[in-house]
């Protein structure tokens, strides 16, 4: 059934709403990467089967012609945020959030909750603070203080269902935009203050406007789903969980800039995102939402999904375009701007996944609505992936300007095992680490940049006292060294040299002048590299050197790694006063370096120990000490 025009779209929506009104219970099974890894698909299958067996009126599609009375709608959604305690099953309208659901829990869920309305206490989230069970999202601290815009549908709509998206208001924004003049659409995006969510924070409206103003007989719209930051998954979640929103944002852009061809470039490691987006594109084509005369207007627009080859540099705009063209993804000098001469040398708009995902809400709710959120120069909300040594890990979205403290200690619930907070890393390999004195920093583009880090795409990695800043800097440099495309010397050689210097420090061979060398070389690379990869490569080391200088000095002067991470200068021993002889570390030690009997103090054989740190990681009694 096609949606040939606006009237048909609204007819479809009201039919779906009717169907929805009848739905008595909605059961949303999270199938984001995290929950899927923990067995969400098996849970979903079991839920559907078990409900059928129990004779419940289950429905897996939101069919407008459903005949059942009081049906139960079971759907697979994208990431619901709190991945750490997945697989999640969210039951509405009661707002019951079941956590850590296993196939073996399904019988109870069906028999007790779905058939009988009882809440199963042991599947509810347990608040670590007071051990109380909390029933739903409304009660759980992780979900408080969040505001979902780009992630609005992620975790609520059925990820592979056009109908579900339409029922939730999907494509009404496109319908509205198509009635507007392209220029008005751009003006609206400009007024909203939306800045690119892919890292640079370039004003989106201005980018669209320059594309329109550039000369060319053809224009392209490209969505950057490369998500190269090696510790972030926001874009992955949006592509998997709400693919139609991204497509809608792109169509609106196509209308605004006058393009008929679009691409979505998806990171190689995200097979499910490729699958869901491809299916969504096909469904849109079949329904007249992509292709010719979209919704009966004069707009023609096609989208192809391209898989990335797995190179970080391909997330950079010019390299990405070359990669879609089928060549080696090497960046090009920025003196030619890609809005003017981008893909196939034609004017091209390239935006990040989350940027496109914000567009439908901006058009629907208005630029003022969007601009009223966030800070003056960074409007709206931002999705982050909150991970690392924090109690609550997952996907979150907060208004720009939210304090780091509220994210780490409010939503995140503080540091694992009550250890001291040390730093939070933002901006991935191009960003930096901010320590305790920055906890009250309002998170927005400019505040982060001023503090010596950057927004990046939204990775937020929390670190405790057992994370070594020299090691973190070395980690990113190693990553970048491998990912440098090698085209320009400062990046290729400079990053290599920087890495060598840090490696020297971590081996305890650092000399006092090395710290100055690092600084000088870092600045050199920043100014002379060709693309953003090189220009920002020294950021992690420079920011940690600035904010954690004592730690660098300890490596150089005392040949000591205070965090107990750098292997060559760390010795692991067991504190006899604290060791309970629980055998746990003995089992975990890869080279079998630990000996000890049950309830006896354990001892590490220093000749066998490889300083891997496994023992310290598993010891529940804090008995493994480093020096």
């Amino acid at each position: 059934m096609g949606i040939a025009n606006l009237k048909k779209l609204e007819a479809r929506r009201s039919a779906l709403h009717k169907a929805h009104e009848n739905v008595k219970t909605q059961v949303r099974v999270c199938s984001g990467t995290g929950c899927a890894a923990l067995g969400a698909f098996e849970v979903y299958d079991a839920l559907v089967e078990e409900s059928k067996k129990a004779g419940l009126p289950v429905q897996v599609e939101l069919a407008p012609c459903g005949k059942d009375k009081d049906p139960i709608f079971v759907s697979l959604t994208g990431c619901q945020g709190f991945c750490q305690i997945g697989p999640l099953v969210h039951i509405l309208p009661e707002d019951i959030l079941y956590t850590g659901v296993k196939v073996s829990s399904v019988k109870d869920i069906v028999g007790k909750t779905l058939a009988d309305g009882q809440v199963i206490d042991k599947l509810l989230y347990k608040n670590p603070e007071d051990k109380k069970r909390l029933k739903g999202r409304a009660d759980i601290p992780f979900y408080k203080g969040q505001e979902l815009v780009a992630l609005e549908g992620c975790g609520s709509v059925a990820a592979d269902s056009l109908d579900s998206y339409i029922a939730s208001g999907g494509f009404s924004s496109l319908a509205k935009a198509l009635k507007m003049d392209p220029d008005q659409v751009i003006a609206e995006v400009e007024k909203s203050g939306l800045r690119g969510r892919g890292g640079g924070g370039f004003p989106t409206g201005r980018k669209w406007r320059s594309c329109v103003n550039a000369t060319g007989d053809e224009r392209f719209v490209i969505c950057n789903g490369d998500e190269g930051d090696p510790g972030a998954f926001m874009d992955c979640c949006i592509m998997e969980g709400d693919p139609y929103r991204v497509i809608e944002g792109m169509i609106i852009c196509a209308h605004a800039v006058g393009s008929s061809t679009g691409f979505i470039y998806v990171r190689h490691e995200y097979p499910r995102a490729v699958e869901r987006l491809s299916l969504a594109v096909k469904t849109c084509e079949e329904n007249g939402l992509l292709g010719t005369k979209i919704l009966g207007s004069d707009l023609n627009f096609d989208i192809s999904v391209a898989r990335g080859g797995g190179a970080f540099v391909c997330g950079e705009s010019t390299a990405l375009m070359r990669s879609i063209e089928g060549s080696v993804g090497e960046p090009r000098a920025k003196y030619v701007r890609s809005v003017q001469r981008g893909f196939r040398d034609k004017p091209t708009v390239l935006n990040n996944v989350e940027t496109f995902a914000c567009v439908p809400s901006i058009i629907n709710e208005g630029s003022d609505w969007f601009a009223s959120r966030g800070t003056e120069k960074s409007s709206g909300t931002k999705a982050f992936c909150l991970v690392g040594k924090v109690v609550n890990t997952g996907l979150i979205e907060v208004p720009m300007g939210t304090k780091l403290r509220d994210v780490v200690f409010g939503i995140g619930g503080g540091i694992i095992d009550g250890r001291p907070f040390k730093a939070v890393q933002t901006g991935g390999p191009s960003g930096g680490c901010l320590g305790e004195n920055y906890l009250d920093l309002p998170v927005d583009f400019d505040a982060l940049a001023e503090a010596g880090s950057m927004m990046g795409s939204g990775g937020m990695i929390v670190m405790d006292d057992r994370t070594c800043m020299v090691d973190v800097a070395k980690y990113f440099l190693n990553f970048l060294m491998e990912e440098s495309c090698g085209k320009c010397v400062p990046c290729r050689e400079g990053v290599y040299q920087l890495h060598a210097l840090l490696d020297k420090l971590s081996r305890g061979e650092g000399e006092p002048q090395d710290l100055e060398k690092i600084q000088r070389l870092g600045k050199e690379i920043q100014v002379s590299s060709l693309c953003g990869l090189g220009k920002s490569a020294p950021n992690p080391v420079l920011s940690t050197l600035k904010n954690f200088r004592e730690e660098y000095e300890a490596h150089v002067n005392d040949k000591r790694c205070p965090a107990g991470v750098c292997r060559d200068i760390t010795t692991f021993t067991i504190d006899p006063d604290k060791c309970t002889g629980c055998l746990v570390c003995k089992k975990a030690c890869p080279p079998d370096a630990i000996s000890g009997e049950k309830k006896q103090v354990h001892v590490i054989d220093q000749d066998k120990c490889t300083q891997c740190g496994a023992c310290r990681l598993v010891c529940k009694f804090d008995a493994v000490v480093t020096s």
């Binding site: 995290g34 923990l38 991945c83 089928g326 040594k389 670190m463 975990a588 598993v618």
Partner: protein, 156 residues
């Protein structure tokens, strides 16, 4: 050294048939499909793809070597990908590599003698909240505790 098995050119042909002949921009995509079919990219397959898509041989090889996702040497039956993304790194992924090195006798980039396992390292697989993460072929193993991974993989 592991001996490369003979390449089944019919399978290569069948994969290439799915693409439009002479359409250069399909190169990366075609190589990806070839690799998922044969688990790696034998020289013969790259050559065949270059010919089919009308890409100069040297460009095809430079594409095949540029992108990390491609392997030009044969790989084991089970490919164990250890995530070394930032989140996994700081939550102990290096211990996982160590466990595999000792338990299976191979480090990153290596394949066991019996061609059963290849260990690879990757950067972030999108499940950072469950760090550290390992993927064995398509199976995700989350929150891997020290000393457990070899057993989990061997038990399948």
């Amino acid at each position: 050294m592991n001996v490369a098995p003979a390449v089944d050119m019919d399978r290569v042909g069948a994969v290439l048939d799915r693409f439009e002949k002479g359409e250069r921009s399909h190169l990366v995509h075609a190589l990806q499909d070839l690799q998922s079919e044969i688990h790696y990219l034998p020289k013969e397959a790259i050559k065949a793809a270059a010919k089919y898509l009308d890409v100069p041989l040297h460009s095809a090889f430079s594409v095949a070597t540029f992108y990390k996702a491609f392997s030009l040497v044969p790989r084991g039956e089970t490919i164990i990908k250890v995530c070394l993304g930032t989140s996994c790194h700081i939550r102990g992924a290096s211990v996982v590599v160590e466990d595999l090195r000792i338990g299976l006798g191979v480090g990153p980039g290596e394949t066991t003698q019996d061609m059963k396992y290849t260990v690879e390292v990757v950067n972030c697989v999108g499940a950072c909240a469950l760090a550290p993460v390992v993927i064995a072929n398509t199976r995700y193993i989350a929150d891997v505790k020290p000393g457990t991974i070899v057993k989990i993989i061997e038990e399948g």
